[in-house]
């Protein structure tokens, strides 16, 4: 028999992976492009609503809705990028924060108008809601899948951004835009695709997360803080840093709520401030 601490560790890990899936897209846009996009969770919320609507109104299977959540969030984000964000790549932090928080407010109101303010539950098939018991500790299947998917996405992104031509183009465009243009890289297109990738990942993360954290219009604001914590603690532009930060924060949050419930969300903020003061550039910071 394993002591209950393993159950807490497993739940913390799964929660951390959920935070990671929500924030990995932000790590791409904020980290690679240095653009503070507070509207990230709005795209995650869009992905969540796509999944819920496709499943409840059209009877699609859960896994078939995931690519749709990705594509919907990516397409909508490209529209926003073309219309608003691209003007602000060189603007101050404050302008980026203001514009994107404005979009968050709009998205919260629009979601409330279309879908109502109540929680939208997700009806998962039975095999996803079951759990395995191993040496006295219950492992929920869905959480195992979350962990597996998070590992896959990390691997794909790290390899993709470090070893492909596209990844090299993105890094070149970020490091020196004029030089990259001079070399014939279509910087606008590269940024648009990167942005779509980041927001698409947000949509996917949102679709995967709602089973555990629920979905209502305030989603875009509530989880924004967690996403920012993961990305800034992990280190800008570092996928593996976000991965590590998500694990640390997920486990400390779940463990804190399990062992010292009266502290509430206090612990996760304390961990964040401590980590940021220790390493202002994040756990694995490059800049």
């Amino acid at each position: 028999m394993l002591p209950p601490v393993f159950g807490v560790l497993f739940d913390g890990l799964a929660y951390g992976m959920l935070l990671f899936l929500l924030s990995v897209g932000q790590s791409v846009t904020l980290g690679m492009m240095n653009f503070i996009n507070l509207a990230h969770c709005s795209f995650a919320m869009l992905g969540g609503y796509v999944t819920v609507v496709l499943m409840s109104s059209y009877g699609w299977p859960f896994f078939a809705t995931l690519p749709c959540a990705f594509i919907a969030a990516a397409l909508v984000s490209v529209g926003f990028e073309r219309a608003f964000f691209r003007r602000l790549y060189r603007a101050s932090d404050l302008d980026q924060v203001l514009l994107t928080i404005g979009i968050v407010f709009i998205s919260v109101a629009v979601a409330a108008y279309i879908f109502g303010t109540e929680q939208r539950p997700l009806q998962l098939p039975a095999y996803l809601r079951s759990s395995l018991t191993f040496m006295g500790v219950r492992f929920a299947v869905y959480r195992l899948i979350l962990i597996g998917l998070a590992l896959l996405i990390t691997l794909a992104l790290v390899l993709g951004l470090d070893y492909t031509r596209f990844g090299a183009r993105v890094r070149a465009a970020v490091d020196n835009e004029r030089m990259a243009r001079g070399l014939g890289i279509d910087v606008d297109r590269t940024f648009a695709i990167t942005f779509a990738l980041g927001s698409g990942l947000a949509g996917l993360g949102g679709a995967l997360a709602i089973e555990i954290i629920g979905l209502d219009p305030s989603f875009a604001l509530t989880y924004l803080v967690y996403v920012l914590i993961v990305v800034s603690v992990g280190g800008l532009g570092s996928i593996s840093g976000s991965f590590a930060a998500a694990i640390v924060l997920g486990i400390s949050d779940v463990a804190g709520k399990y062992y010292i419930p009266q502290l509430g969300a206090f612990l996760i903020y304390l961990v964040m401030i401590g980590l940021l003061m220790w390493r202002p550039l994040g756990l694995i910071g490059r800049r």
Partner: protein, 329 residues
């Protein structure tokens, strides 16, 4: 900030800036109009004066020193809770209450400023946000002291100077809040037009280069952050004393975000930016209050996107641009 004539002699430039312009005098005289024109809206007017003071304190750090803070309501809340608790436990004298709240908020501001001055950009935004959230959780869990989600009850503010009671219509409250706002505004105005204020603007433009010309960036940031914290604390204390209640919402993230919105709407980095933004925002919210709050947020969002896209320096920045264009043609 257009540096035109008199830039050759910095002393003359600063002196020219400190002169009171007719439009400023007209603005402050106009703040007395609610007594004559809208006597029913005096409590709204006192809320506006309080929010104006809060926005002014944020302007000192955000507009002038370039510290983007998403947790400035922390100091507002500390001031409000301090004034509320002092009054609840037996000392309801308003002016000393303000002073105690200012000292409390200033002390905590001074303590955190040692962290704030070491960081820029995203880490700074996240740290201010984190401090704000941490404090909100703390106030929430310390229910025995703060009343938790129910808010702090049982505050009683004594009469101002011993004979002016705080009435239901907000006559005393508005005069009190306006007077405090004016005194602190004059102080902030003096501060901004001093060499210290000028070096703050230098730090905003280039944090690293200022020490090279002899302005210690970090020490200056610590000073202005402490001053701004104390001013925000006074604003919070004013709210606690005039409404005789303090809620958790007074130090929440929404209030921090809202004050940034109001300041930017008016124009950050301008003394009157916060005041103009607060007036426009609060009057609009009062007029739209019949609409459900969710849709109010929709309009704030539209407003933010519009301001950033079309009016990068706020209402006052846009007005200044129009004026200079007209005088040139």
């Amino acid at each position: 900030m257009a540096l035109t004539e008199g830039t050759a002699n910095p002393r003359l430039y600063l002196q020219a800036q400190t002169r009171w312009r007719p439009i400023e005098i007209a603005f402050w005289l106009a703040t007395l109009l609610p007594y004559a024109l809208f006597p029913d809206y005096l409590s709204l007017a006192s809320q506006i004066a309080i929010a104006g003071l809060f926005a002014l304190s944020l302007d000192l750090i955000l507009g002038y020193a370039g510290i983007v803070s998403l947790g400035h309501a922390a100091f507002f809340g500390i001031g409000a809770y301090t004034a509320g608790l002092v009054s609840k436990y037996g000392w309801g004298e308003p002016l000393t209450g303000l002073a105690i709240a200012a000292v409390a908020a200033g002390l905590i501001g001074y303590a955190t400023s040692f962290v704030i001055c070491r960081f820029r950009h995203l880490a700074l935004i996240m740290l201010t946000l984190g401090f704000g959230l941490l404090l909100e959780e703390l106030a929430n869990s310390a229910g025995w002291l703060t009343g938790g989600v129910d808010g702090l009850q049982g505050i009683h503010t004594w009469k101002l100077f011993g004979y002016l009671p705080f009435d239901l219509y907000g006559r005393t409250a508005y005069a009190y809040a306006l007077a405090v706002l004016f005194v602190l505004f004059v102080f902030a105005r003096r501060l901004i037009h001093s060499p210290f204020g000028l070096s703050l603007r230098g730090i905003r433009e280039n944090f690293v280069r200022m020490p090279a010309i002899g302005a210690p960036s970090r020490a200056h940031i610590r000073t202005i952050y402490t001053i701004a914290a104390a001013m925000a604390g006074i604003a919070g204390a004013l709210l606690a004393q005039t409404t005789e209640t303090v809620s958790l919402e007074s130090l929440g993230f929404e209030r921090s975000a809202e004050v940034v919105v109001m300041l930017v709407l008016g124009g950050a980095g301008r003394l009157y930016g916060g005041l103009v933004g607060v007036i426009v925002y609060m009057v609009a919210r009062d007029q739209f209050s019949g609409i459900e709050p969710q849709y109010w947020y929709f309009w704030i969002g539209v407003l933010l996107v519009g301001v950033v896209t079309f009016l990068p320096n706020g209402i006052l920045g846009g007005a200044a641009k129009l004026m200079s264009r007209r005088s040139r043609s």
